[in-house]
């Protein structure tokens, strides 16, 4: 996996200038980082924890930020990797606690009754991780396919097929409202 935040570079700072400036740029990015984190983690508190981990990691390895790369892409990549680490840890935990704990979050979209239509957040939370990231980066963050693919470290074709599958799944989970809207 070619994770953007481990690309080595000896070329320090450049246009990203001083560490203090970088800190302020990260402060300005916080709203977007929080938004992206919320597409990954369903719980807002977990999402903010994730942002905090990403911010701390970014500052600890600020020398890896290349002058020609966008700070936002770099930060999204770090956040993504932090999330993957987190889900791995969780995965290990969930193998012990699985059924009850996951009961609320897994399930076939088709079994959801029409009367209790899923909230958008719930529907997003049901997507497989990789689809959720594609949806989060492109549809929520508004990044181009190219940027999103780079952040996820996959070819554009992979990104678009994940996006397509994610979209399809969301459409069917949210069919009532989106379908009716036309």
């Amino acid at each position: 996996m070619t994770a953007p935040d481990v690309i080595g570079s000896t070329d320090v700072r450049g246009m990203h200038a001083s560490l203090d400036q970088l800190r302020e740029q990260i402060v300005d990015l916080l709203p977007r980082l929080r938004r992206f984190a919320r597409t990954l983690a369903r719980d807002p508190h977990d999402a903010d924890d994730l942002v905090q981990v990403a911010v701390e990691r970014a500052l600890a390895r600020s020398e890896q930020l290349r002058p020609d790369s966008r700070l936002s892409s770099w930060m999204f990549g770090i956040l993504r990797n932090a999330w993957i680490d987190e889900t791995r840890t969780r995965g290990r935990r969930n193998r012990i606690f699985a059924p009850e704990e996951l009961g609320e979050n897994v399930g076939d979209a088709a079994t959801v009754s029409h009367a209790e239509a899923l909230s958008v957040q719930d529907a997003v939370a049901r997507l497989p991780d990789e689809q959720r990231m594609a949806v989060g980066l492109v549809l929520v963050e508004g990044l181009s396919y190219k940027e999103a693919a780079e952040i996820m470290g996959v070819p554009i074709g992979t990104l678009t097929s994940r996006l397509a599958r994610g979209r399809e799944a969301l459409q069917s989970m949210l069919a009532d409202e989106t379908g009716a809207m036309q």
């Binding site: 903010d48 942002v51 396919y145 397509a164 979209r167 989106t178």
Partner: protein, 250 residues
């Protein structure tokens, strides 16, 4: 002509080259089924944005700001006031609610504009897209930020060219609630990209009308973000704005 679902998605995501884009648009015009599928993709996108954009208007929790600024944890948790002076915060609008542009039109109209005499609804939906309507559409086409009066019902903020080469303009509109948003030229319409609502303020908020604030600071964060995401180069100055109006924003 037949298009794959991925092509239609790419259209909705603005990822097609201009040739394919035109071909899709031609197909949309003649095939309602294609138009419907694209509208569905756009509606989903609008719905997702509306769900998650709200967080943009919240001030981030202090612990995250501290983490970014490197305020040590001891100070964060203890009673000691950090020595470092906090930067003046940008104006935030926690009460702004970003509206699912493609969804809540009825709500906006109901809440804000039923009592507006004769002006009509500010937005209308066509093929799943939200288009400016009535007084809003007219202001977007005709009004110049440099010459508008402080008491104009619709205020134009910044105008700029988007990455896709279309003219876009931010606006605020005062009625029984305040709406703020970004609209971009789409043929002869103005497509509303983001719409936020501030239910707390109404007609009465003239807020020192003599020195009307610069548009940027009036805007909720989700709108500012949409500008940042879409803008190519700088905002138009008064001269460029007037020229753009002369060409009917094409």
């Amino acid at each position: 002509m037949n298009f794959s679902e991925e092509t239609l998605m790419a259209y909705a995501d603005n990822e097609l080259d201009s040739q394919t884009r035109s071909a899709v648009e031609a197909a949309m015009a003649s095939d309602p089924e294609i138009a419907r599928r694209i509208a569905q993709h756009e509606a989903l996108r609008g719905r997702l944005k509306a769900t998650f954009d709200g967080v943009l208007d919240e001030p981030p929790p202090q612990r995250l700001v501290d983490a970014a600024r490197g305020v040590p944890a001891v100070r964060r948790e203890g009673n000691v006031i950090p020595l470092r002076r906090r930067r003046a915060r940008r104006i935030v609008w926690p009460q702004w609610a970003t509206i699912a542009a493609s969804l809540v039109i009825g709500v906006i109209i109901g809440q804000a504009f039923l009592r507006m005499p004769g002006a009509g609804a500010p937005v209308a939906s066509r093929n799943g897209q939200v288009l400016a309507n009535g007084a809003l559409a007219q202001a977007l086409s005709d009004q110049l930020a440099s010459t508008q009066t402080p008491d104009a019902q619709v205020k134009i903020g910044v105008s700029f060219k988007s990455k896709t080469g279309d003219y876009c303009r931010t606006f605020t509109m005062h009625a029984s609630t305040t709406l703020a948003g970004l609209a971009c030229r789409d043929h002869n319409d103005w497509r509303v990209q983001v719409l936020a609502q501030n239910p707390q303020s109404g007609n009465t908020s003239t807020e020192g009308s003599a020195s009307y604030r610069q548009a940027g600071s009036e805007m909720p964060r989700s709108v500012q973000q949409a500008v940042d995401d879409n803008i190519a180069g700088d905002a138009l100055d008064a001269h460029a704005e007037a020229l753009a109006r002369e060409t009917r924003w094409h």
